[in-house]
């Protein structure tokens, strides 16, 4: 048996033994995610056990090095683990901005000491991080951010405001982009700073979304003192002083890759046509609403072509062909497609999809999800910004 086959066998056996039955329902969705953190309230005992066991094994972040709390697995092994988890419909034990963003940034730009200090609590779901990039006057034009960070000898003094900070009110720490050199050119005076949300002067104010939820906040920093070292030898800044833009840029590409890698998940579950058929019914074998049927079929064609494009670009990357900047294409098309998909699901749902409260619709689950998808083409770089990137880096159009 090859090493990989052995690994698969062992992983399967381990999962079989350790994944609680309640965690095998394949449930995804924002409501079922385990985010971890000091304030985290487990939704069930099973969720807690599952996280504990996976963390101990290093499998909440299977690809990270073992010394930082990861599983130290190779790419092939990670793939096998994921497929074995899918096979038993295991839920993801832990998701977080720490795993998606801060971790990769630290692994690339952090010192060994920073990694040892910050990464293991992320892998165990003990510390929850949020991302402080956007400001009221710095959205798409992120590099124009103004949040001030002054050198006061033994500490940094932070003053300013962030906005759209997802889960700031539930997070323990924040990784921030701050301006450390106001005189330098736009991209050159920014640093990547780690701040404890419990520090004096940090406050958050939830913002309610059109979906009725409040997953993000305004975050204020009033004379916040951030020690230069969070513990002896553990610097508060990741990467070099005033080189935070490099870290941010790296993370944005990473974020885009994640989004495109996860693109398949956009289409999880039943097809739009199948759902529409069960909701509206058929006449002579065709959806009873012929105009909607046409729109759905067109959308399914595009959705399918998109999935094949994800596949092709992965295969091209493996074969050393292809264009790097294509991740913008995948984000642009994927997020626009997901919005279109939910519009069609709302069309199929008709008036029933419009109920906002009540058990029958699980408090307007579809309507709320539909509204949530509108952010797909805004968060992490708007559709227009993605089109700008394609125009500039792929098509090489002038002045872009």
């Amino acid at each position: 048996m090859s090493d990989l086959e052995t690994f698969r066998k062992d992983a399967r056996a381990w999962l079989e033994e350790n994944c609680p039955a309640e965690m095998r329902d394949g449930a995804g969705g924002e409501d079922n995610i385990c985010w971890g953190g000091r304030n985290w309230k487990f939704q069930s005992e099973a969720q807690k056990i599952w996280l504990g066991r996976m963390a101990e094994k290093g499998w909440t972040v299977p690809a990270w090095p073992k010394e930082y709390g990861g599983g130290g697995l190779s790419k092939e092994e990670v793939k096998i683990l994921k497929s074995e988890m899918r096979d038993i419909k295991a839920r993801s034990p832990l998701e977080s901005f720490g795993i998606w963003m801060l971790g990769p940034a630290l692994l690339k730009y952090g010192t060994h000491e920073q990694k040892l200090h910050f990464l293991p609590p992320i892998t165990r779901g003990e510390i929850r991080w949020c991302q402080g990039y956007s400001e009221p006057n710095a959205g798409s034009d992120l590099a124009s951010l103004q949040c001030k960070c002054e050198d006061k000898g033994d500490h940094w003094l932070v003053n300013g405001q962030k906005v759209w900070t997802s889960y700031a009110d539930e997070s323990d720490w924040i990784f921030c982009l701050v301006r450390t050199d106001p005189k330098a050119t736009k991209h050159n005076g920014i640093s990547f700073l780690l701040i404890d949300m419990a520090a004096q002067g940090v406050s958050t104010k939830p913002i309610k979304l059109i979906s009725g939820k409040s997953p993000f906040c305004e975050t204020f920093f009033d004379d916040v003192k951030v020690p230069k070292e969070h513990a002896p030898g553990i610097g508060a800044i990741v990467g070099d002083l005033n080189r935070g833009w490099d870290v941010a840029k790296y993370l944005l590409t990473h974020e885009r890759e994640m989004i495109s890698a996860g693109g398949g998940g956009l289409f999880g579950g039943r097809g739009i046509g199948e759902i529409a058929a069960s909701e509206i019914g058929l006449e002579d074998g065709r959806l009873a609403d012929p105009m909607l049927r046409g729109k759905i079929a067109q959308a399914e064609i595009d959705g399918w072509a998109f999935l094949l494009t994800l596949e092709r670009m992965k295969d091209e990357a493996k074969a050393g062909q292809g264009v790097g900047a294509n991740s913008s294409l995948l984000i642009y098309y994927g997020s626009e497609f997901n919005k279109r998909r939910f519009e069609l699901l709302m069309d199929s749902g008709g008036s029933e999809a419009l109920e906002w409260e009540g058990e029958r619709t699980q408090d307007g689950k579809l309507a709320r999800s539909w509204l949530r998808t509108k952010a797909n083409s805004i968060e992490g770089g708007t559709s227009e910004v993605q089109l700008n990137i394609i125009a500039k880096h792929i098509l090489r159009l002038p002045g872009a």
Binding site: A276, L395, R396, P398
Partner: protein
């Protein structure tokens, strides 16, 4: 199978591109049009393509072919789409070769495939009878006559029908128009008594015809596949044609897009390159994305034809629908972004718009295939 071209397929593409750029650029099509050429393509050029193994790209080596498979055929179709090369490649090397390879008996294959490989015979596939594609609507009759059949009816929109040596025609041996069963394919000599071809001069300047069958006699040996074999056998052949057309349109769309991007970088108005206007940039970037999607489904359809021919129907519909819509968009944007010059006959872009219009209609437009896909998906 990885969704990329193999090294061998890439080499085929590169050599095809070099050859076509030199021997068959758009100006060659323009010349044929201006000469009102009855054949619709250059026989010398076709012979050269055959010598390179293109005409027999789907034919087994035992019959003089190169047996490159559907991906290989798609690579060539795409390259011909780039240069709008006029040739009987679709009708003969994709449609007829597929029909003979998949449905033909030993004698039929022995007789015809070597001629296809050598570029010595032109074939046409005659399916449609009405203005919109619908193989199931086939009404043309093939009545029992002695030991054989007598074929009567009209066919339209038959690519290369005006010069074909042989015609593969779909006719009804049973059932009524609309029935999936009762359709039989016949292989008819174009010179047979009762066959008349009326050349139709088409918007794309490519050869096509309306065919009339007036009591044309056929024997059992002329049947391709099984009597009453039905739609399924025909659909297989059509799927190959649809994927081929998708590949061709993909090539045409990419060429039109490349010309347009060049123009955006070169044309100046308001004191700057028009490519610096975001109104055009975003449309260009969107179109680029659509073209990438088109390339993906087209390649997948071709790969599936190679790997599981009988199950490739849905993906071929997907490719044909997507390529038709994207190529149309590419042609429209190309003309629009070229401004007044895009409207002139002297400029090549109009040729792309015209050919794409024809290719997207042939063997089912996007609406036809969206409907087919919805049926197959149960809604």
């Amino acid at each position: 199978m990885a969704l990329v071209l193999t090294e061998e397929q890439q080499m085929l593409r590169d050599s095809a591109r070099g050859f076509l750029d030199e021997k068959a650029p758009v100006s060659a099509l323009r010349k044929l049009r201006d000469a009102n050429d009855e054949t619709g393509f250059s026989r010398d050029l076709w012979k050269e393509m055959a010598e390179m193994g293109w005409a027999g790209i789907l034919v087994g080596e035992d019959h003089g072919g190169t047996d490159f498979g559907f991906v290989g055929a798609g690579v060539l179709a795409e390259e011909m789409g780039r240069t709008l090369t006029a040739s009987p490649f679709l009708s003969t090397s994709i449609l007829a070769a597929t029909a003979l390879q998949k449905l033909g008996g030993d004698a039929q294959r022995q007789e015809h495939l070597p001629k296809i490989s050598a570029g010595d015979a032109v074939f046409a596939l005659a399916v449609d009878e009405t203005r919109k594609h619908g193989p199931q609507k086939t009404a043309m009759k093939a009545e029992k006559h002695g030991n054989g059949f007598k074929l009567s009816g009209d066919k339209t929109f038959v690519a290369d029908g005006q010069v074909a040596d042989n015609i593969i025609v779909a006719a009804r041996t049973a059932g009524a128009p609309g029935d999936a069963e009762g359709i039989t394919l016949f292989l008819i000599d174009a010179a047979a008594k009762g066959v008349t071809a009326e050349r139709t001069v088409m918007v794309d300047s490519r050869g096509a015809a309306r065919l009339k069958f007036d009591g044309v006699e056929a024997t059992g040996d002329d049947v391709l596949g099984e009597v009453d074999g039905g739609l399924a056998a025909l659909e297989g052949v059509l799927n190959a044609g649809r994927a081929g057309l998708a590949a061709e349109m993909s090539g045409s769309a990419q060429a039109a897009f490349a010309m347009t991007m060049d123009y955006l970088k070169e044309r100046k108005q308001f004191g700057t390159e028009i490519g610096s206007f975001q109104a055009l940039q975003h449309r260009a970037a969107h179109l680029y994305s659509e073209i990438e999607l088109m390339k993906s489904v087209t390649l997948k359809a071709l790969q599936d034809l190679d790997e599981h021919y009988g199950m490739a129907g849905i993906i071929c519909s997907l490719a044909k629908a997507k390529a038709g819509e994207v190529a149309k968009l590419a042609a429209q944007e190309a003309v629009q972004m070229h401004g007044g010059i895009g409207m002139t006959d002297e400029f090549d872009i109009g040729f792309y718009m015209k050919r794409i219009r024809v290719a997207q209609e042939m063997f089912g437009d996007a609406a036809f295939h969206a409907d087919r896909l919805a049926m197959m998906r149960g809604y």
